[in-house]
Symmetry: C2
Subunit: 328 residues, 2 copies
């Protein structure tokens, strides 16, 4: 299986992308096409011992920066590492594409280069949301700040297929984020979405209050992209704040330092379990191809994990499954 990676995308590229590609090739037996400046990438690659047949550099002259306006960047920088990587999937030369670059540009690129699946009005980001007993799929994680009820229904369909075929959950529970559990609660959007989800073939379990999200009572968390962004970032912020406070309190005296030392491995484990960046990238579901958005701060390991995720999505033919479920 051949996967493409935007070699210049991400805060730590090309170090992270090259390292991730080399390790993924070794561990998953895939072939990787890495896009970017030939000279820069070759130099990075020279550090490693790897099967030369399995990594190919696709040279390009441009790079999309984090500050670039997304749509303009995709339209103008045709020879950027991101656009070239997307084209590899469009042309059928690679089965999935991974990028840790400018999120807005990548989503715009997904829409313009790959195009939407027929029947999906708004493709959506589907990161995992870690919880007590594992992880749910959250969709939309931030691609669409303005949504209609039918978009949320489609998010539910795509999220359910992801949960079932990639995470192995049988008949995934799909829940709608809302301000109360009873039907009829919420704003116009959630009321409309509730009715559509209820009428669908999904295993829709109704509304879920934000309080219960970290409890892991559901498999697929459906919300608009504005709400999804708030949920992901607030969870991260509260976690970071609690751990900073613990650190502060625990270093107050000799005794508390001693005690904290004993508990350190436990604390580290909790932190790790809940760090959504540890869970690889977020697929952009609803476009005609497998596209994985890796976190901007991804290191080599995160890039490797995103490649593994891309491989799984491609193997499981998730795009075909979305098409089938829509009767295309």
């Amino acid at each position: 299986m051949i996967l493409a990676i935007d070699g210049m995308g991400g805060d730590h590229a090309p170090k992270s992308t090259v390292k991730g590609a080399v390790d993924a090739v070794k561990e998953y037996g895939i072939t990787v096409m890495i896009t970017g400046d030939q000279e820069v990438l070759s130099k990075e690659l020279q550090q490693y011992d790897y099967d030369k047949e399995k990594i190919e550099i696709i040279h390009c002259s441009e790079k999309i920066e984090n500050e670039d306006p997304p749509v303009k960047a995709i339209r103008r920088k045709k020879d950027s590492s991101m656009v070239v990587a997307l084209n590899l999937v469009k042309e059928g030369r690679a089965e999935a594409v991974i990028s840790a670059g400018n999120t807005g540009a990548l989503l715009a690129g997904g829409l313009f280069v790959l195009g939407r699946i027929k029947g999906i009005d708004r493709p959506a980001l589907a990161p995992v949301f870690p919880h007590e007993n594992g992880a749910s799929v959250l969709i939309d994680g931030g691609a669409n700040t303005e949504c209609k009820g039918k978009n949320l229904l489609q998010f539910g369909v795509m999220g359910s297929l992801y949960s079932e075929h990639i995470l192995g959950v049988k008949s995934p529970k799909v829940s709608l984020v809302n301000v109360g559990e009873e039907k009829g609660k919420g704003n116009e959007l959630t009321k409309e979405a509730y009715d559509l989800l209820e009428e669908s073939d999904l295993n829709f379990t109704g509304n879920m209050e934000a309080r219960d999200l970290p409890r892991g009572k559901t498999d697929v968390i459906v919300c608009d992209g504005f709400t999804g962004n708030i949920i992901l970032k607030l969870t991260e912020g509260v976690f970071m704040t609690v751990f900073d406070l613990l650190k502060e309190k625990f270093t107050k005296s000799f005794m508390t330092k001693m005690a904290a030392g004993i508990l350190k491995p436990e604390l580290r484990q909790i932190k790790k379990d809940y760090d959504y960046t540890e869970h690889g990238g977020a697929p952009f579901l609803g476009v005609q191809g497998v596209l994985i958005k890796a976190h901007g701060s991804s290191d080599g390991k995160a890039v490797k994990n995103a490649l593994r995720q891309g491989k799984r999505f491609a193997e499981n033919k998730i795009v075909d499954k979305i098409q089938e479920s829509l009767g295309n």
Copy 2:
């Protein structure tokens, strides 16, 4: 100063409301009118030693239940403890009203009985949001799930007055919850609200991502009531989950139990600092009178705190200040 309390409202009423009233009378030198069943309330009151001149029971024959549909309950149960308490403020017999009863009914009652301040289209709930360095005011905490830009501007005005006159913050920083920090980010609502807040006389500091909310970088957090509900409940949920996880991990072995024992007071302090129910009730700002919504699970102490809060709002003539700021 005379304050009214819905004697039958809340999960622990009338025990909590009577205890709270008795303690508030002693500590704050106020007079309390408590509404509800004369017989039930008298019986509760008999347990305490207090100044008989300072607590008056206003008998009423009905009670609004948590399951009652809000608007219908307010319209039909005219002799309920909640409606009678609201009327005490409307008639000028009390300067503030506190209730821990059915939230929806209380908000509807605030609108119907007290009425809106001229120039405020949507009154809003303004709970405090605890953070590292104290607490911000969050507005709207859940009264309006559907908002327009001008509503958010008015929330900013009311929240700023609250922060300045009740919490003593000079020139409070007002921030808009959004998916990115730059101007132009977000959905139609936040874009519209951004422009209005920027043009206003408020100390508007721009957008704030949800990640930064627990960091306490702002004094007034402005958002629609749907988003406000998500923020409050998710923060609560993540906190509770982290503490449950800590408890679980810390009781794994003899050593971790010992260590956790030493750290217990610190953990308890963090938990308490961040528990927004500890910070009293949430004022419903924008109605013609001081109305404090206490948490449904309020005990005597929480009711007492809510009464103190009502007293402060009344003393500081917050309703007049909102009117003045609108040029009424």
